[in-house]
Amino acid sequence: MNPSSLLALGHAPLDLAAALLLAFGLKRLGRVSTARAANRLAALAMALAVAGLLLHQGLLGWPWILGGTLVGSGLGWWAARRVAMTAMPQIVALFNGCGGMSSLLVALAAAGLPGGTSRIAMASIVISVLVGAITFSGSLVAMAKLQEWLDTPAWTQRPSRHLVNGALAVACLGCSALAFTSLLPAAVSLALLAALALLLGVGLTLPVGGADMPVVISLLNSYSGVAAAAAGFVVGSRLLIVAGAMVGAAGLILTSVMCTAMNRSLLSVLFGGALGTGGQAGTADQGEYQNITSCSPEECAMTLEGASRVVFVPGYGLAVAQAQHSLREVAQLLERHGVDVKYAIHPVAGRMPGHMNVLLAEADVPYDQLVEMEAINPDFPRTDVVIVLGANDVVNPQARTDPQSPLYGMPVLHVEEATTVFVVKRSLGAGYAGIRNGLFECQNTSMVFGDAKQVLNILLQELRELGVGKVDNRRQSPVLAG
């Protein structure tokens, strides 16, 4: 028997239901109120698809099915439970790479099935192997970079990398062509193709700077959809083609949205090299900071006591320091004091769009206090105090003023328009993208050096000592005025 006839026959109702639910699931994942249910709907759709297939083909090879299921599901369950919220982007990259690897293996094995391979089938196999391999190795490199196991060494920025990658790409095309001929056994050509494509995935991802990694992951997510669709061609499954195509297209949209938010073109992300290292960013970025003002958390607390509008700008540094909970406590204290507290969320705060919302939600920060960039920017001139915690590039005023800056044109939070800005930071080191930040030199900016969590805890203590947040001490109470 062959798989296509199995798949082509009548489990259409279950397949159709699964495709419909997957589409609904993807659609409803885009609204906060429906997202969680939508995710479960998509999981249900996946279960339906599997049930439909197994009903049809029976449990042939069940020991293998059982083994693969136990190992894969078990590890997936374990990884999903264990991972910290700060490591979300990495784990998504890892999962994504494994999806690509799966398509790659299926395609390789399909080429080894007896009965000959038509040209169309071979074309599908070649695409699945090529895209699956790039997805796998590229995702692993992305994961390692986000986890900071890998950095972006200067030698990866040399222009000669384009030659190397170009040569690898040509070699991949050559192997693809070989697979259609009888010069080499198809299995050998395809194995060669897989090896070269794995290298190409590394070569393409390694030079991309850490700050651009989310875009790369999103793109690789799209690739894994393409690889799945190609695998659908290989085994003749409409459902696989539809689902793969949907994910592929949706991933492209998401990628372009992220690029827009960072004011980067996809081409410059992929081939432009890392921001702030060698490459394009050697301009006015180096050099010592001058006229830096710094202050202690105590002074910061005293300023806060007299403020009526406060905006926090959380960044990835906050999450790394695990300071979300301390931040919420400070915010609650200020609120009880009658202060209007908001959190300004840049679209790419954290390591991925939406990452910061997840991290703050974890600390029980009410969702309606998180204000997006466009909504909060007009409010900064009326804001008394801005506290920047572990954010850097997203508050860099040079993105608006300095055409020499690599960030020029990126939409940023206009924090420098507030009366007072505190920047909590470990040191004056460069940000994740390695770019100098003029905010630190602004007259109304004070640096508060230290670990975000420690600073916030001292702040909390100081605010309490100042009597902030006590009911009989509210600033509105007229008694205090006298």
């Binding site: 798989p3 296509s4 199995l6 997957l22 589409a23 994942l29 885009g30 609204r31 906060v32 997202a35 995710n39 479960r40 996946m46 297939l53 083909q57 029976g58 090879g61 099915i65 693969g68 299921t69 894969g72 590890l75 990884a79 999903a80 439970r81 991972v83 998504v92 999962f95 994504n96 999806g99 799966s102 299926v106 390789l108 094995a109 099935l113 009965g115 391979t117 038509s118 599908s124 959809g225 695998a231 659908g232 290989v234 085994v235 499954s237 409409r238 083609i241 689902a243 793969g244 195509a245 949907m246 949706a250 949209i253 769009p353 939406g354 919302n357 997840v358 939600a361 969702y367 309606d368």
Partner: protein
């Protein structure tokens, strides 16, 4: 692997699926981009169907074993992806409205 879907049919399915994907993700608040990416990523693990088909039709234990490994990779993606997405979304407290 001889009978595939007729190529024109498969291409139509591919085209319509892609168009659907482009339409589905139109307007999404940035706060949901990470969960959305994660959810879409879990869906791309649907390649597990291909792995299951391979296991059922492979003539040799070696190819079946490859199928089982492919299945494990895909399920790692699917199970981990959906669970991690659920974990993220469980944290969005609904107070006020959706934005």
């Amino acid at each position: 692997m001889t009978d595939l879907l007729p190529i024109d049919e498969a291409l139509w399915v591919l085209l319509l699926g892609s168009l659907l994907g482009l339409e589905l993700i139109g307007k999404v608040p940035p706060s949901l981009h990470t969960p959305l990416m994660s959810g879409a990523n879990a869906i791309s693990g649907i390649t597990l169907l291909a792995a299951l088909t391979l296991i059922a039709t492979a003539p040799s234990p070696l190819l079946q074993a490859v199928g089982a490994v492919a299945l494990a990779f895909a399920l790692f993606n699917v199970v981990g992806g959906f669970l991690v997405t659920d974990r993220m979304l469980a944290m969005f407290r609904r107070r006020g409205d959706d934005r």
